[in-house]
């Protein structure tokens, strides 16, 4: 009797993963199809134009902007962000650094430069175009966000704490959705982002073009929208909290060759 019961249990266990495997395969097929038809390169082209366009009271382009690898060096710059910048004495992600260059190099006010950081399908934002272009210059470069300077370590620790911190109207944390294996919402798998093997493919493909609403989405937007979904107050653009979370996630994904900007459902 005991042996018979054992057989049933084993059959049950093998049947469920097989179905899950099929679903996973179908989702992968779908993701491959949308990647093949991705217009990401068009955003990169627009971003390049914006990078080279003189703007602001100083009427200069961003071409002298130092993204961490020296003034104007784009190759591999995105893969090594966020990192500590001595001139600003803080850890910065790509968008924060771009904002820094807009206010210092171009002489623009913070209010003007952040007036429209997230665009829509009819009019993408400057940050979105620039993120696409700059991230594209890191293809094939391994992710290596800063994790040596005391402020980089502090940002990582803060990001980690925020990831697991439950609050807001629904008492949720990032880990409420991204803390357990094999969970998904409809077609979207929920990666367990505190585990390197799950964080790697995600961080290597953001920022990304989103097919369902024809928009290019940045990392600052991603974090901002996660907080919206958790019913928190809206985080400030380029704030310590959003940079810390991006730092935590990118350090967790360290070593993965960057292959974005990606394409999401």
């Amino acid at each position: 009797m005991t042996r018979f019961f054992g057989t049933i249990v084993i059959l049950g266990l093998t049947a469920i993963p097989a179905a899950a495997q099929d679903t996973k395969k179908e989702i992968q097929k779908y993701q491959q199809m949308i990647a093949e038809g991705s217009p990401v390169e068009l955003f990169e082209l627009e971003g390049e134009t914006l990078w080279k366009k003189p703007q602001g009271p100083h009427n200069v382009s961003l071409e002298k902007c130092d993204l961490g690898q020296g003034a104007g060096v784009l190759k591999g710059a995105y893969a090594r962000l966020p990192r500590y910048f001595k001139d600003a004495d803080r850890v910065m992600d790509l968008e924060t650094r771009l904002l820094h260059c807009m206010t210092t190099l171009q002489g623009r006010s913070r209010d003007e430069a952040t007036k429209r950081v997230f665009g829509n399908e009819n009019q993408p934002s400057e940050m979105e175009y620039l993120s696409a272009y700059i991230a594209g210059q890191s293809r094939g470069v391994k992710l290596a966000a800063g994790h040596t300077h005391p402020k980089e370590k502090a940002a990582y620790e803060l990001g980690k704490a925020l990831f697991f911190h439950r609050a807001g109207g629904w008492d949720m944390s990032c880990a409420s959705c991204h803390g357990e294996d094999n969970k998904r919402i409809r077609m979207q798998e929920l990666p367990v982002l505190h585990k390197p093997q799950a964080a790697r493919p995600i961080m290597a493909t953001w920022p990304a073009y989103r097919v369902s609403n024809s928009q290019f989405k940045t990392m600052q937007w991603r974090i901002n929208d996660c907080y919206r979904q958790m019913r928190y107050p809206e985080p400030k653009f380029a704030s310590e909290a959003t940079i810390a979370l991006i730092t935590y996630l990118t350090v967790t994904a360290a070593g993965e060759p960057y292959r974005g900007p990606g394409t999401k459902r």
Binding site: E36, P39, L42, S214
Partner: protein, 97 residues
């Protein structure tokens, strides 16, 4: 001024594989905004028209087209142009790699 286009054309043993991206809002009637969509796509190989396509609102925003042309050698000129219902157009030309 229409947004950028991007194209890649590669020779692959007797055929030429072309992939072209177009920036276009492709606004449908459903959106409540004035209709604005690409109607005609023309492909030329060394100046000779090889494809004339009529497309509709059913095609997505920022469309991507991928197709194979018979023949074609490295250095051949491939030209792709589109014309929309407002009379706006754009063209891109590239050499087969």
């Amino acid at each position: 001024m229409a947004g950028p286009m991007k194209m890649r054309a590669t020779a692959q043993g007797g055929t030429t594989e072309v992939r072209v991206l177009m920036t276009h809002p492709m606004t449908t009637a459903q959106s409540g905004q004035p209709l604005h969509f690409i109607q005609n796509v023309t492909v030329k190989q060394n100046g000779k028209t090889v494809i004339e396509a009529e497309i509709s609102q059913a095609v997505s925003r920022n469309p991507v087209f991928s197709f194979r042309l018979k023949g074609g050698a490295k250095g051949d000129k491939i030209e792709v142009s589109w014309l929309d219902n407002k009379g706006e157009s754009n063209t891109i030309e590239t050499a087969v790699a």
